[in-house]
Each structure stands twice: as structure tokens, then as C-alpha cells.
Amino acid sequence: MMRVHDPGPAAKVAALVSVGVLAALAFAGPVLAQDGTPTVTAGLLQAALVGLGYYLSNSPWLFGNGGFFGLYRPLVAGLFVGIIFGDPVKGAEIGAAINLLYIGFISAGGSIPADPSVAGWVGTALALAGGLDASAGIALGVAIGLLGTIIFFTRMSVDAVFAHWADDRAERGDITGVSRMNWLPPQIFLFIISFFPATIAVYAGAPVVQDAINNLQANAPWVLKGFQIAGGLLPAIGIALNMRFIFRGSVIPYFFIGYYVSVLSGGAVNIVAIAIIGAALAALHVTFLGSRPMQAKGAEA
């Protein structure tokens, strides 16, 4: 929302940690390799298509919404990566598994907790190329999603330059120039910082990651277990970020109602049913209490 979160030290630490994790994966492969038989099939063209998909997911070209609300989601990315690698069913499965991490993902005020898109595109590609399955995909999704925030923060910082270029055009009354400054230079820059890293990560990373995961499975399964456990913890962040905006005032009890309707049904109540109950309760709440209690005012944003 209005407050712009400065990524500050957290971003640096996250970057360090994720670089460390990936470096560890990279070294774990060769060092622990016992049988040198990688069966990886990520061609340059496939890698480039994945890179292109990742760029598109951040780009405006698909009606805006088709990017951020479409290709950006690992569920969708997984399907397309699956098509690229010739196995849409497996791709969608792995994408869906990675998307579990980011179920409550919210981007607000120029801040993201992780990059679901790179986790979906590159994570699914590495998993498919390496013949890994969904739970290994989740492990990759955690590490890569963390790393992807570097691209987001770089973009958010550098793009400010183009706003000043737009100022110059405005000073000259150049309408087309102002318009162009919003879409052309930032997109060239975004293409460079998203397409190439993702392509290289898939092309060069596939054998390494396959080796690493296989060896971790053989020698230190607890690391993969750890990432899978993390997969059960991390959705809490997205949910908490959503709650930052809505968990307040008189509507707080509905969170517990939603939770315990699910608990009592053992998870058997479909999410659409929950939403319908929620909409009915919303109508009742507003009818009888109006908006008095929720005093939002964006204060907590």
C-alpha cells in the first residue's frame, strides 16, 4: 500500500542465504557425486523458453493481469514449463506443489516476501529436466523463490531512473516520450535481468541440481526433509501478509470461524463453500453492524 518497505538488511541476508543454499547445492553435486551419469535433458532452446516465460510473467504484455495474476503463479508456470519439456501433466503437478508455498502471496507497497514466479518457472524446469518429483520441486521452489527477490529489488531500484527520463520528456511536452519511458526502457532492462539469469539457471543448473538433489537424497536426506517442512511453514507468511490488511476490529472472529469450519470438517469443506459461507456472513455483518467496527484507514499498511 502506501508505505514503501525498504528491503534493507533483510534483503541482503535473504540474498546471502539463498546464494549460500544454491552454492551448497552446486558444490554438493560434484563433491558427493558417486556415479557420473546425469540424464539431464535441458536444451538451450528449452532453457530460453523458460527464461522467456519468466520475463513474460513480470511483463505487461499479457493484458497486465495475465502476467501477475497468470503466468506469475507457479500453478500456471508449471503447465507451460511442462509443455516446453513435453510433459504438461507432470509440469502442472510440480507447479501446483510449488504454488502451495505461495498460496497467500501478496505484493503490496513494492514489497514481496519471495518471488513465486521464478520458483515456478525455474523450479519446475529444473525438477523436470532432472527427473525429480514434486517434493524436490518444493525444495527448489523455496531456495529459488528467495533468490528471485534480488531481481525484484534490483528492478524496483533501477526503474526509478526511467521516471526521471519521463520527467525530461514531460518538461518538453513530449506526450509520446513520457508514454515510452514507462514501457520501453524498463522492459528492456527487465528482460535483461530476468530472461538471462533464468535461462542460464535452467541450462547450466539442471545437471548440477539433479546431481545435488540425488546426492542429498542419498547422503543427507534431512536437508530435503527440511525444505519440505519449510513448505508446510512458509504459507503462513503469505497468509499473515494478507491478514495485515484484514485481521482487525470486529471482523477478526471470522478468521477463527473459517479456520475451525475447516478443522471440524477435516478439510472436507471445499474452499468455494467456505467463500459462500463467508459472503453470507459478510452480508449479515454489514447489514447489522455496518462498517463501524473495521476502522481500516490504512493505518497499518
Partner: protein
Amino acid sequence: MSTETMQGTGSGMGAGGGEGQKVALTRGDVQRSFWLWTFFSHANYNYERLQGTAFAQAMTPIIRKLYKDPEEIKAALKRHLVFFNTEPNVGGIIHGAVIAMEEQRANGADIDDDAINSVKSGLMGPLAGIGDSISQGTITPILLTLGIGIAAGNPTITGDGNPLGSIIYLVLEVGIMLALAYFFWMQGYDRGRVGVMELLRSGALDRFLTGAGVLGNMVMGALTFQFVHVYLTLHFGIPAGGGNVTDFDINRDLLNAMVPGLLPLGLVLLSWWLIARRRMSPLWLLVVLVVVALVGAFPIFAGPDTPFGCESILNAFFQPAYGANGALGCGAAPPAS
């Protein structure tokens, strides 16, 4: 384009002055502006202005049509290059209202820069709140949950994964978002500043925000149970007589027996408290949780034969409490040795 040039020649000196010549926007102009925004709202997203340049780009068809005097054009461009940030779909009601204001201004109404800026900066915060809780907070997780259920393979329905889940999500999500965006944009333009302000004053938006809050909280509560999985892997055997040993699982036999679902609920409330109240960065929290998970998985802490791969994630998605094996992802679970 032809109408534009025709009107352009006619209104050369009229813009801003308002003597006689009226410059009217067509539906097409407003729609062109809508599509520019819908496509490019985040094309140059940056820390300094956020969607500032995108707002200016969206206004270019309007500026081109309404103003012919270079000074007016310059002023209008600068007016719309300032900091702006809202939710792009629902927030379009602001753009609609601003377009209506620009149109009145070009036709001589007494609307100065401050009036336009105050509409933009006054509305963008509340509408970001409403918009985010509707689009990212409610519609997206609901449709994602549906799509994931189909794509990951629900053992009780299809068994195997089905890529149709991704397609259903994509089509519904993008369709709903575009429809919402167009609706709010046109509402803004048709109501104009007065109408939008009235809408705010009448409390309709507040009621809407509260209703969205009810629905959003319900959905977040349900998602917490479906997707957040926290286990304590403390087991011990209790002698049950006759040489038998009853397995006592602290998670199942103590915590869930007393307060069902306590741990996931606790983790989400803790995360919310840290982020919203203690202003902890979500990135820090992510790092901490990954570290905790890795430490928790270290052989000393983890139970000897707890199949996390199945129980903690995907199987739990469909059968939250200690489901059977066989769902997606279990194949990769570390072999129990």
C-alpha cells in the same frame, strides 16, 4: 484517430479557456486510457514513484485529446508523473474520476492541480486496501486452491494430476480481474469526482471493505488449515500391559486432543504479530522459518521414521490429519531406513 484530428483542429485555442469550444471525450478515449493502464500499470514499477509513470502513460490519450496548448500539455504530464500507488484493478475508479475531472477542467471548470492531486492521493490508499483484499486476498487464493486441487491430483476425484487445473485458474482469474478492472474504471468516469467522493462519504466503500474483510478472514482461516502444516515429532512408547507399547504422539495425542489444529493456527498468528505488530520484514521471517525447518529436520530432532514428505505437505492437503500414502510427492519422501 480521424475523430481526434477533426476535434483537434477545432479546439486549438479552446482548451483551458472554455470559451465556446467544448472538448468532449469519447467512450473510445476512456477505453484507450483503460487499456494503457491495464497493460502497463506495473511496467515501470519502482521505489521512487511506484506506478507514477504508468499513471502518466494511461493519461496520455486524454491529455492529447483535451489539451492543445504546449504549456497545458506540459503541466498535465507533470501533474500525473507524481508518486502513485494503488491496486491496479479496483483502483481504476480513481483514474476514471480523474479523467472526468480533466475533462471538466479542459472545458473551463475551476479544478486546479490540488483538486486532482487530492483525489489521487486521497483515494489510492483506501482503494489499495480494498483492492488488495479483494483481488490478492480473496479471489486469487480461492481460485488457486481450486486449481491446485485439480492440477496436483486429488486422490478422491481424479487420482492423477490434471493440467486442466492450471487452465481453469488462468482463465477464471484473468477474466474476473479484467471484468472488475473495466467495471471500476467506468464507474469512476461515469460518477466523476463528485460521485466518487459521495460514494466514499456515504460509507459504501467502508461497508464494502468490511464485507471483504469478513470474507477474506474466512478464506485465510480456511487456507491456514489446508496449507500450513506444523508438526512436533515427539513420540514415546507407553507400556500398555502384556508387553504391548502404545505409541504416544505429542502432536496427535496431546495437542490436537486438547485444542485441535493449535500449531498451524499459532504459527499464522505469530507470523501476523511479527509482521503487522513488530514490523518484522517478511523476508527475515522467511529466512527464520527455513532455518527452523532445516534444524527441525536434522536427524537429532526429527523422529526416526516420520514421513514428512507425505504428511507435511501434499497428502495433508487432502487428508490433513495423518493421511495415507500415495498422493503426489510421496515418492520423493526420503526412504525410511
